[in-house]
Subunit: 429 residues, 2 copies
């Protein structure tokens, strides 16, 4: 009975009266907490004319760090696997929505800028991260520095996408460049991670990296994106036009969800993050066409995005509250690590400002693009987590103190972006 | 990597490139399968003018029994804990929706009938089940017969609620009596289970049942329902009127979901099934009032039910497909158990037909009420599952063969109800 321990005695479950809910209890308790916390904090920040997402992250930071005040009651609740699955589905819904709102042609129009921004945004932060790590830990292996650098690569598109959506600037040139670059970034970042991990595995066995297996990863990733955008668009068109014309109103939503999950699954299997697949799924679907097919049936048609909205209202805040809750405030306070964490954060921020020089489209605010690329969020945490499990000849690639600094860097880059981006986009509106 | 084993080699996940999705892969694959299977089978049955839920259950039975054809690839997918959590949330949404559509005053108007139907529906099937078990297994302990009887008590309101909803007959007198009786039934059934379990525990220790602990369970359950309906209605009114007037469109949905989950949690903690809490949450909320508060703000207001619909479209079919998938067709084919399973099924069906004699409201179709009370569904499976874990002095209370027969009874009562009820309600419309 995982939920029983966290509840006062008079609320404990009687053994044998409800086997069904055994795993459901902590999920339900977590959802009540997360939904109410997110809504209250979000409403507060909206009153202060700031994006609701900051409130949701803040609610998560508070809920996740009550242990510092001596109360650990909520920790098992927020770490429930069921709740994490819901959060991961929530971020898929967010990226699917962002993809639906994105116009593929408009994204291709800024594709050159996105590609250059993304490439600079991977190379420069990785180099800076490598140098910072070598400066602080001269005795560590070179590949460990490369790993720290790799954690600075990938932009967390979730945070920026949400801020752009809150400010209704997803379709702006800045928005399209940032989203396009973040997607390319994720691909490049995951390739860098695969390469570094491969090098470490080879070094650990005293050998060198097998080039064919590395090439296989790269080819799969490129093939996935080409297939998703080319083939996906061509195949999905007749299916979705058919679904929009079905008498049962639920057919279009079920099919859209299945398509979103399938693309996320395929992205994962191609070695990319599932959110890349969800974004591609939304990008491929042509809302205007589907809506007109629904209207042909004489239906008041809200399209896929309108049907997705309640699902996003339910699950997207779960993701942001849990992401805030992962922030361990005490990990930053390790003596001597504050300077390393600060240097790493500066490298992360400065590296992504350099990448805004890659913007070639006229009339685009470079600072807004640079700011939008700052957050490392979930991807940085995943990289750090993987690094902490790897070792070269018995020595950890990412030792606990370095891990704490990376978590601090992810925390700060994630938390500073929404206010900075909201401020900058508010000025240039 | 739980998902890797079930996938062909060329689709396997590269180690180290996507730690995030480790647990997400089987959930995504399961969701794609369940959503597409449910939608296709549901559409097929709708064309045949039968409730879509039969198609969804049928899709589950097919997906869950492909092992009989020698292909076990889908079994780990359908048993993924993440998918089960989604299914359990799905059935909460269904009961919450049914509660929203139910008018408390109209339910009280048939409350006498519901109470009598429920009481007869617990006492008669339990007695018949006891006799059938004693007839087939004269050497088993008396308390084991009582346990088999207890598995025949509780009506599975999910199936009937869905059929009534598909046929738009939730608000009919038959619909209200069935739903009211099923809720009371769940309460009585869970009390019976608690009593039988307590007796077994006491017998196992060579003692007798402690009356105070038993009374505690009963008091908690009764208190929960009284508090939910009385206090809940009074407390929720100002909160939801306030939420409906908020500028942010998502506030009402978030609050409704939090309320639904909170009530499900409290029901579970009070020793009742979570679905009873979700139903009570929907029953307590006054949609008409909330919608008028939304309209005061000049908003095109779909109310809570309208906002819940996409959520139900997403998750309710997951529940029914998984319930179908739990049916193990080969368990019925154990030699000699077919007769016991048939006798138990007949006792389950006959017992609930007797209970329709308790209908005192005029002009109500007794046969429709009796048919609506037939399915045992998830509650029967839970009871059987608990029984198979209990033992008296080393001997199992529910042995594997008896368990298989109970599963068969649950299967048949669940599968026969939708067509029978659809036929009867179609005739009396």
């Amino acid at each position: 009975m995982p939920g029983a321990a966290i509840l006062p005695g008079w609320l404990r479950l009687e053994a044998g009266t409800g086997g069904q809910g055994a795993e459901l209890v902590p999920v339900l308790a977590g959802l009540v907490l997360v939904l109410l916390g997110a809504r209250l904090a979000g409403a507060l920040f909206e009153r202060l004319r700031m994006p609701a997402v900051i409130g949701e992250l803040g609610a998560g930071v508070v809920l996740g760090n009550l242990g510092l005040l001596g109360w650990h009651g909520l920790e098992p609740l927020l770490a429930t696997p069921g709740l994490e699955i819901l959060a991961e589905i929530g971020v898929l819904f967010l990226l699917f929505e962002v993809g639906l709102e994105s116009d593929l042609r408009a994204m291709v129009a800024v594709g050159g800028s996105s590609l250059l921004v993304a490439t600079l945004g991977v190379v420069v932060p990785m180099g800076l991260g490598f140098l910072v790590s070598r400066g602080f830990f001269p005795t560590h292996a070179g590949v460990a520095h490369a790993f720290v650098g790799a954690t600075l690569c990938a932009t967390s598109v979730g945070i920026t996408a949400r801020v752009l959506s809150d400010l209704r600037r997803t379709a702006s040139a800045e928005g399209r460049i940032i989203l396009g670059a973040a997607v390319i970034d994720d691909v490049l970042g995951l390739l860098v991670l695969a390469v570094v991990t491969g090098v470490i595995a080879a070094a650990n066995q005293g050998g060198t990296l097998a080039l064919p297996s590395l090439l296989g990863i790269v080819v799969k990733a490129v093939l996935f994106l080409a297939a998703a955008i080319g083939l996906g668009r061509w195949l999905s068109r007749p299916v979705f036009r058919f679904a929009a014309r079905q008498p049962n109103d639920g057919a279009l939503l079920s099919l859209s969800l299945a398509f979103c999950f399938l693309m996320a699954l395929l992205a994962q299997l191609a070695g990319l993050a599932p959110i890349v697949g969800a974004f591609a799924a939304g990008l491929v679907l042509d809302e205007a066409e589907i809506r007109s097919a629904g209207l042909e049936r004489g239906r008041d048609d809200r399209g896929i995005a309108g049907r997705m909205k309640p699902l996003a209202t339910f699950l997207v805040p779960v993701f942001f509250v849990l992401m805030g809750a992962r922030v361990n405030l005490s990990s930053v306070a390790v003596p001597g690590m504050l300077a390393f964490a600060a240097a790493l954060t500066l490298a992360a921020i400065a590296g992504k400002q350099v990448c805004s020089l890659g913007v070639m489209t006229r009339g685009v605010d470079r600072l807004a693009v640079g700011l939008g690329m700052i957050p490392r969020g979930e991807v940085g945490l995943i990289f750090a987590g993987i690094g902490s499990t790897l070792s070269i000849r018995g020595e950890r690639v990412i030792e606990p103190a370095v891990y704490a600094a990376i978590v601090a860097m992810v925390t700060i880059t994630t938390l500073v972006t929404p206010p900075l981006l909201a401020w900058r986009l508010g000025r240039t509106r």
